[in-house]
Amino acid sequence: MILIEIINILGETLAEKLNISPPAARGLIKLSIQDEFGPFKPISQLSYEDFKLIITQSLNERLVNLDVENFKIIINKMLEELKRNQSVITIAGV
């Protein structure tokens, strides 16, 4: 389950932006993955496009439900971070 690496990276960014602990941020990302794909799609099979979808849809929705005011800025920052570190999905996935 090596794609956990990309969750760690995105989790650090989310933690910093929401001012929460990294484990809580990683948990929020994992919940967003479940929202989008259910429990049956393994994390190891998630692609760059899947992560993009998770951020723009289910994570976005979770942030709205948490009453995060600047959620659009955070979502854009997360997308930027995913784009910057997209290679981890391949390099760690082989």
Binding site: I2, I4, E5, N8, I9, E12, L18, N19, I20, S21, P22, P23, A24, R26, G27, L28, L31, S44, Q45, S47, Y48, L66, V68, K83, R84, N85, Q86, S87, V88, T90, I91, A92, G93, V94
Partner: protein, 264 residues
């Protein structure tokens, strides 16, 4: 006598290079299929193509043009791999690099064809254009991998993964120089001719560079578990406590409330 020995040593190194890139190529095709990663599948195909080109030329004497067709496939596939892996959402520079690589590859094929069918000697022109072709293809990968490594090294991710980035960057840089020795190849002499010491050295240096690259990529992509464990020996992976959805959302809200009360 010594020249013959050297030739056999260099030829053996070259065979090692071909065997390793075949292994790496098959491995990447299998992994690309298993993980449904098209970029990995593409680079695996490129590796195998490169091996087919060399085997066709040196074993079955199908000629330089035959080899160049497969080099063309391998180089373009390498650039596509770099673009899909590191620059999926960037459009201008990756497309430009691919367009230039493709054009330089077509020029190489054209110059090989000229030489084969018209007997025109364009060796130095071809080699001069082969240099930017090779430099661009592999330095693009080296640069992309190094830049990613620089960004990722601050994160708590497995050290073997960071090493994979460094190996890909370093050995791509090494192989990017492999066309430089070709400038010293004497005219009208068979590549690696044991009777000609300069040609033999050109062959030897190229074989050593190629074998180093293949070994580096072998370690990078097919890293044995014992090596991963050794590299990771001081690494503590992040282990998160398992929360239910309700517990987690409560925790996040609590942490956010605490943060806002600190700010008030």
């Amino acid at each position: 006598m010594i020249n013959e020995i050297l030739f056999n040593i260099f030829a053996t190194i070259f065979v090692v290079f071909i065997m390793i890139i075949l292994i790496v190529g098959f491995f990447l095709i299998v992994r690309g299929t298993q993980t449904k990663m098209i970029n990995i599948f593409i680079t695996g195909t490129g590796f195998i193509g490169l091996a087919i080109g060399f085997i066709g030329n040196f074993v079955f004497h199908l000629g330089g043009l035959f080899q160049e067709i497969f080099v063309f496939i391998a180089f373009n596939f390498t650039v596509i791999f770099t673009n899909l892996t590191f620059y999926r959402r960037k459009k201008i520079y990756p497309s430009l690099v691919l367009a230039v690589t493709f054009t330089l590859g077509i020029i190489q094929l054209f110059l090989h064809t000229l030489n084969l069918f018209l007997g025109t000697n364009v060796y130095y022109l071809r080699v001069s254009l082969d240099l930017p072709y090779t430099l661009l293809t592999f330095n693009w990968l080296a640069w992309a991998s190094y830049q990613s490594y620089k960004r990722l090294k601050v994160y708590n991710i497995a050290p073997w993964l960071k090493l994979r980035y460094k190996l890909v960057a370093f050995f791509s840089l090494i192989i990017s120089f492999h066309s430089i020795p070709e400038f010293f190849q004497p005219k009208g002499v068979y590549w690696g001719d044991p009777e000609n010491i300069i040609s033999l050295m050109v062959f030897g240096i190229t074989a050593i560079l190629a074998a180093s690259f293949s070994i580096g990529f072998f370690i990078a992509w097919i890293m044995p578990n014992w090596l991963k464990k050794k590299i990771n020996k001081n690494y503590k992976p992040l282990e998160d406590k398992e929360y239910s959805e309700k517990e987690l959302m409560q925790l996040i809200k609590k942490e956010m409330d605490e943060e806002s009360s600190w700010n008030d």
